[in-house]
Amino acid sequence: AQSVTQPDARVTVSEGASLQLRCKYSYSGTPYLFWYVQYPRQGLQLLLKYYSGDPVVQGVNGFEAEFIKSNSSFHLRKASVHWSDSAVYFCAVSACAQGLTFGLGTRVSVFP
């Protein structure tokens, strides 16, 4: 069975600063990896996904993530955050026929 660990429950950053959210997964095969964001009173929205190929994937709103197989990691990054990036971010892994397995999420608070 697969699992996802997001070690940081909360992250606070200043507007304009860079952001990195950590994600480590456990899966014996080749995973499909995702980052979702949940804004207040909204459903989950896909930020980016990795299936294969270039390990650095670009997503919406300036987010990117890097797949490092040797470290079983899929960290999310943004060079300069905006107050509207305040949300909960979920890392997820998908294995064939088993749906998405999510991490606990990281709540990001951006202060002006």
């Binding site: 996802v4 429950a9 499909y32 995702f34 979702y36 009173r41 909204q42 459903g43 989950l44 929205q45 896909l46 996904k49 979920f90 998908s94 294995a95 064939c96 026929a97 088993q98 749906g99 998405l100 397995t101 999510f102 991490g103 606990l104 999420g105």
Partner: protein, 112 residues
């Protein structure tokens, strides 16, 4: 239109009473999912339909029922609600397991 719609957005139920949640999608996706999300926990997959085939997670097998009368609609049914069922219920759909999954805004169920 890549929306998944859930009704209602908020639902109040009494302990011991049945609950039925509705989800629809217009993307003709072959797979529809139901997740349960509680505060400070990861979204948890309850069950999913691949076409007409229902797959339920082992630890929630007896707690939730579902039906998919056609490709666009899927319901989640709780026969007798308990306090522990209070949560956000997220419906999602995709073309096939392991590809991009689209989420609805969720139904917040409160059992009293």
């Amino acid at each position: 239109d890549t929306t998944v719609k859930q009704n209602p957005r908020y639902k109040l139920a009494r302990v011991g009473k049945p609950v039925n949640l509705i989800c629809s999608q217009t993307m003709n996706h072959d797979t529809m999912y139901w997740y349960q999300k509680k505060p400070n926990q990861a979204p948890k997959l309850l069950l999913f339909y691949y076409d007409k085939i229902l797959n339920r997670e082992a630890d929630t097998f007896e707690k939730f029922q579902s039906s998919r009368p056609n490709n666009s609609f899927c319901s989640l049914y709780i026969g007798s609600a308990g306090l522990e069922y209070s949560a956000m219920y997220l419906c999602a759909s995709s073309w096939a397991r392991g590809t991009e999954v689209f989420f609805g805004k969720g139904t917040r169920l409160t059992v009293v």
